[in-house]
């Protein structure tokens, strides 16, 4: 049973905790399909969404999840906040505590920033992405989507391809899927694979073909086009050809397999329009499930809080 105030990463979770989150999210998804998409549970709670990086879907998803639970959801935009005046993260956190915040949802470019915040605030902290470390709610919604389609995660083979090195989504999924008994394979150019990969319990595939063929889930990662300037790959054209899910490669996809992507996608780079249009592509379903998973977390993490 999840008895934490913070969700900092999948790394720290037990399998039973992941299962409880996913089970609770099943019920939350029902609420999303209700006539009135709202429950009064968090009526007296305040959720602050503190994003030090740009985001549309994750921010929106947390905001809606809070609102569907009747919490007050406030956004802090870093561009206009006192962070611009040099306020430290800990001081921002203390300010939010003084403002009676119950949950802080934080996204930050520095790995470990949510951990630092959590050590210094009373409020619960949800990591919405920290540097290259983790994006736990994304992995939870991905696992939710897989479980919904396949009934269970145990025994699945999940192929993750692209920029594994910089991807917090890949890391969180690798930790979560390993804990849930799935196999994970990865593929990407060597410049975009992290050091010590084997010790993470994943297998390296030799090609996109090999990755797609053997996978029940094929998960693409967004490649940041700036990486090209850093010399990590020579051109978009070559990247798309060797490391993209091209239309020709769809014939290798298992019939029952799912195509997933955390979004936003670079069409024609890591994934192509025909692939996005496959019936197996569940990218929009992932977005819906993201709200359900975040509602579940808001419920579970505030359980211990007394009004």
């Amino acid at each position: 049973m999840l008895k934490r105030k913070d969700l900092l990463g999948i790394k720290e979770l037990e399998r039973g905790e992941i299962e409880e989150i996913l089970n609770t999210a099943v019920e939350m998804k029902k609420i999303l399909k209700q006539n009135v998409k709202k429950v009064p549970h968090l009526q007296n709670k305040s959720v602050v969404i503190l994003f030090h990086e740009n985001s549309t879907r994750t921010r929106m998803s947390f905001e809606l999840a809070a609102k569907f639970m009747s919490a007050s959801a406030s956004n802090i935009s870093i561009a206009t906040s006192s962070v611009q005046k040099g306020e430290t993260l800990i001081d921002t956190g203390k300010t939010l505590d003084a403002l009676m915040t119950d949950i802080i949802v934080i996204r930050h470019s520095a790995a470990g920033a949510p951990h630092l915040l959590a050590r210094h605030v009373r409020a619960g902290v949800i990591n919405a992405g920290d540097g290259m470390n983790e994006h736990p709610t994304q992995a939870l919604l991905d696992m939710f989507t897989m479980r919904e389609r396949f009934g269970q995660i145990e025994g699945l083979t999940v192929g993750i391809y692209g920029d594994i090195l910089h991807s917090r989504v890949a890391r969180s999924n690798i930790y979560g899927l390993n804990k849930m008994g799935a196999k994970v394979k990865v593929f990407g150019p060597e410049t975009l694979l992290p050091s010590g990969l084997e010790r993470l319990g994943v297998k390296k595939a030799g090609s996109m073909e090999e990755l797609i063929e053997g996978s029940d889930v094929v998960m693409g990662l967004r490649i940041q086009l700036e990486r090209q300037k850093k010399g990590l790959f020579p051109s978009i054209r070559e990247y798309a050809r060797y490391y993209g899910f091209t239309p020709e490669r769809t014939r290798l996809l298992k019939k029952q397999a799912l195509v997933m992507h955390p979004g936003p996608v670079n069409r024609g780079v890591e994934i192509t329009t025909p692939v996005l249009e496959l019936s197996q592509s569940v990218i929009n379903e992932q977005v819906t499930n993201g709200v359900a998973v975040r509602m579940a977390l808001l419920f579970l993490l505030t359980r211990g809080i007394r009004p």
């Binding site: 049973m1 006539n35 009064p40 549970h41 809080i305």
Partner: protein, 179 residues
């Protein structure tokens, strides 16, 4: 917690539920457009028992759903440190229906208030009625039951324990005193 009295044996529970079933039929002039919704936890088997009665008595097929009111409670943090959502399961439309809420004990009325809110979020029923096995008094809200197995005047330091075979192994109602 000290045992004080046996209120209902298994047979008495069955009899009370049978009477409630008859009253539901009588009051709604049959059971067309009627649905049963058991409130977790012990309202669920009780609703099932009513549904079985309705089938036995008049061969009526009345759907019985499950309502989890955890997310609608106003007294959650007083109840348990770590509440769990087991989920609602109402696989039928309640729009324009007579919804019979079923629960084991009617006490402060807060559970029923939460259940009414939850039902209203699912749609707009024609009526919402309430069936309970025991009404022990001490209401904190203006709520009353339409169908009552037994009115049991209690003091606040007493506990009414309803057991249902499906969950507890045996069926019956006992009264205890808090020490």
């Amino acid at each position: 917690m000290n045992f004080k009295a046996k209120i209902f044996s298994e047979d008495e529970v069955k009899r009370a539920i049978a009477r409630i079933s008859h009253q539901i039929l009588e009051h709604n002039k049959g059971a067309e457009d009627t649905v049963l919704v058991g409130i977790r936890t012990r309202g669920v088997p009780l609703a099932k028992m009513i549904a079985q009665n309705l089938r036995r008595f008049e061969n009526l097929d009345v759907p019985a759903g499950i309502l989890d009111i955890t997310l609608y409670r106003d007294d959650l943090s007083l109840k348990s440190e770590h509440p769990v959502i087991n989920g609602s399961d109402i696989p039928f439309n309640i729009e324009g229906k007579n919804v019979i809420l079923v629960d084991d004990v009617l006490f402060t009325g807060r559970t029923v208030r939460a259940a009414i809110d939850a039902i209203m979020d699912l749609g707009r029923p024609k009526t919402i009625q309430l069936a309970v096995l025991i009404d022990r008094g001490h209401r904190e809200l203006p709520i009353r039951a339409d169908y009552i197995g037994k009115n049991l005047p209690t003091s606040r330091n007493e506990i009414v324990s309803v057991k249902v075979a499906e969950i507890d192994g045996d069926t019956g109602v006992d009264l205890y005193t808090l020490l």
